[in-house]
């Protein structure tokens, strides 16, 4: 029935895919006086199948990082590799979900999810079938023929997730995806995301400004400094999985949260020390957390 699924899964298990590595990654926009340095000197390795969150103050280049991995934003310096291959332009192996959905308003829920399969030339009955399966998985099996503007915000994000997952991406990139949802829906979405992540064996890079969310979901939380964005600190979250919402009030979670907040505070208001003679260190807001920078 689902020959493509069956053939895709074993190979995933044999050779886990979706490892991302950045070496001295720098990205700037514009030219001359109006040039903006969004991120600078990022060294980072994300293992295949890892769930990594990036926390940081707004305007710290978190979204730029997502854009670079997605292939929209060209790299200015250093290198950015996906499974040892440089990233050149967007592709279906890296799915993106934004805060504001990007569903096609003129396509039904099912047609939106089928889109990636259609681009691969898969026949209509088969892509219907696969879209239906994955929509049932995200709890939208009864909404195949609705249009996106007939759905609630949470449902729209589910469709967006299904549309990406149907392509079996190596990497799932999420840019504050749940941030405009109400608290209840948000918790549901987080739980669903974790389930899907475990089923699909993909790397997740999750950008957020919500500390609880990042800690609850991730294997590792990275804290980014103010622009130009650098990785200011890193926290390994060795909480057992599967995780549920009770975890949010456990002492261990509180301890991690305190650490994360300290790192964030350092990132946002770090004393303007001149470190390593770097001429731009004042803007870089490199603070005491600098030491953890190399613990990645």
């Amino acid at each position: 029935m689902n020959s493509a699924h069956d053939s895709a899964d074993p190979s995933d298990r044999v050779r886990p895919r979706g490892a991302i590595s950045m070496r001295g990654l720098g990205i700037h926009f514009g030219e001359g006086d109006t040039a903006v340095e969004a991120v600078r000197g990022i060294d980072l390795a994300i293992a295949a199948g890892e769930f990594v969150s990036v926390l940081g103050p707004s305007g710290c280049g978190k979204s730029t990082l997502i854009g670079a991995i997605a292939g929209f934003t060209p790299v200015s310096s250093g290198e950015l590799l996906l499974d040892e291959q440089p990233i050149r332009g967007p592709g279906p192996d890296r799915g993106v979900v934004f805060q504001q959905h990007t569903l096609f308003p003129w396509k039904t829920v099912s047609e939106n999810v089928e889109f990636g399969l259609k681009m691969r030339g898969i026949s209509r009955p088969e892509r219907r079938q696969r879209a239906h399966e994955i929509l049932q998985q995200v709890g939208l099996g009864d909404f195949l023929r609705h249009y996106p503007n007939q759905l609630s915000g949470g449902m729209q994000q589910r469709v967006g997730l299904a549309r990406v997952l149907v392509n079996r991406p190596r990497v799932l990139l999420m840019d504050e995806p749940f941030c405009s949802l109400d608290a209840q829906t948000r918790l549901e979405m987080q739980a669903m995301l974790l389930e899907l992540w475990q089923e699909f064996h993909m790397t997740v890079v999750f950008v957020s400004h919500d500390v609880d969310e990042a800690l609850f979901l991730s294997d590792r939380v990275l804290v980014s400094s103010r622009r130009p964005g650098r990785i200011q600190g890193s926290l390994s979250i060795e909480l057992p999985r599967p995780r549920d919402t009770e975890l949010l009030t456990s002492p261990e979670f509180m301890r991690l949260k305190r650490q994360a907040l300290e790192l964030l505070g350092a990132a946002a208001h770090g004393p303007a020390q001149r470190a390593n003679g770097s001429p731009r260190a004042v803007n870089g807001a490199r603070g005491p957390a600098d030491a953890t920078q190399f613990a990645l």
Binding site: A70, V96, M119
Partner: protein, 294 residues
């Protein structure tokens, strides 16, 4: 199967709870509201129309001549009498059909060309740089001003009239299409790229449907301007056609027929615009303009 009347649906005291979404009492009430709204605006429109026609009759009977001179203007009753004889006129059908045919050909060619060019200009900077300057020079020239040149360009009067119709429809459609393409959320284009779309897919799956609401608006404006241009062209160089009929009525001093011709133009123009809007709505079931204004 007969549907229960709207009134019965609205007044049902305790609506059954487990109806499906489409037939829910709320939907029925909504439909009832809409129906009453249509009725209300219909009544207001009808009363207003009657008042204006009455005023016109009064002006003709009393031969008002203060600023508008109604001495020679046919009155509504004269127009109605003329309409009765017109229906027996064997030339009525050829007049209407030849106008419709010119509109159909000119408008279709304009739509095809303007939508195609508009998509290219809206999407590709090079196309905009190469094509926009000459088009911008031509755009302010009214279709009427093309008539002398059109007569020189084409051997038959028929072709030149179709050309004028084309000119009238072309620019509104072109501009709306460009505007529609440029208004597309670039994030949707990006989304299609991350889902594996190639350049052609982007065009077919994102650009065209994204620009469609604007294109339909352009088509309905273009339909109006193409009638406008056609009638002028027919008055100058026609043999048949509703514009020719109107002008001929004037030269033959058959004044009530002038008004008949005008009304005919109005009805045909309105009908064809309605056709465009209806066609647009039926190929965009997802597009709800009222949702944006709410």
């Amino acid at each position: 199967m007969s549907r229960p009347s709207q009134a019965a649906l609205i007044s049902s005291p305790s609506p059954p709870r487990r109806l499906r979404v489409v037939r829910s009492p709320r939907a029925a009430a909504e439909r009832g509201r809409r129906w009453r709204g249509t009725l209300r605006s219909g009544v207001i429109g009808g009363v207003s129309l009657c008042l204006w026609v009455g005023l016109w009759q009064l002006a003709c009977v009393q031969e008002w001549g203060l600023f508008f001179h109604f001495e020679n203007v046919p009155s509504p009753t004269e127009v109605v009498t003329a309409a009765a004889t017109l229906l027996d006129n064997p030339k009525l059908l050829p007049h209407v059909l030849s106008s419709l045919q010119r509109i159909f050909i000119g408008f279709s060619v304009a739509a095809a060309l303007a939508i195609g060019l508009g998509l290219l200009i809206g999407r590709f900077r090079v196309a905009a740089q190469a094509l926009l300057p000459p088009l911008e020079v031509l755009r302010p020239i009214p279709a009427v001003a093309w008539i002398p040149l059109a007569i020189l360009l084409f051997l038959s009067a028929e072709q030149s009239m179709v050309f004028i119709t084309f000119i009238g429809a072309f620019f509104p459609i072109l501009l709306s299409t460009i505007h529609g393409v440029q208004g597309i959320d670039p994030r949707l284009v990006n989304a299609s790229l991350t889902l594996g779309a190639g350049p052609l897919d982007v065009f077919r799956e994102v650009i065209l449907p994204g620009a469609l609401p604007s294109i339909v608006t352009g088509l309905s404006i273009g339909m109006g301007t193409s009638w406008f241009s056609l009638v002028t062209a027919e008055m100058i160089s026609g043999q048949y056609g509703i514009g020719y009929y109107t002008w001929e009525s004037y030269t033959l001093q058959n004044y009530p027929s002038i008004v008949l011709g005008m009304i005919g133009i109005g009805i045909l123009g309105m009908g064809s615009s309605w056709l465009i809007r209806w066609g647009g709505r039926s190929c965009m079931p997802w597009f709800k303009p009222e949702a944006n204004t709410r």
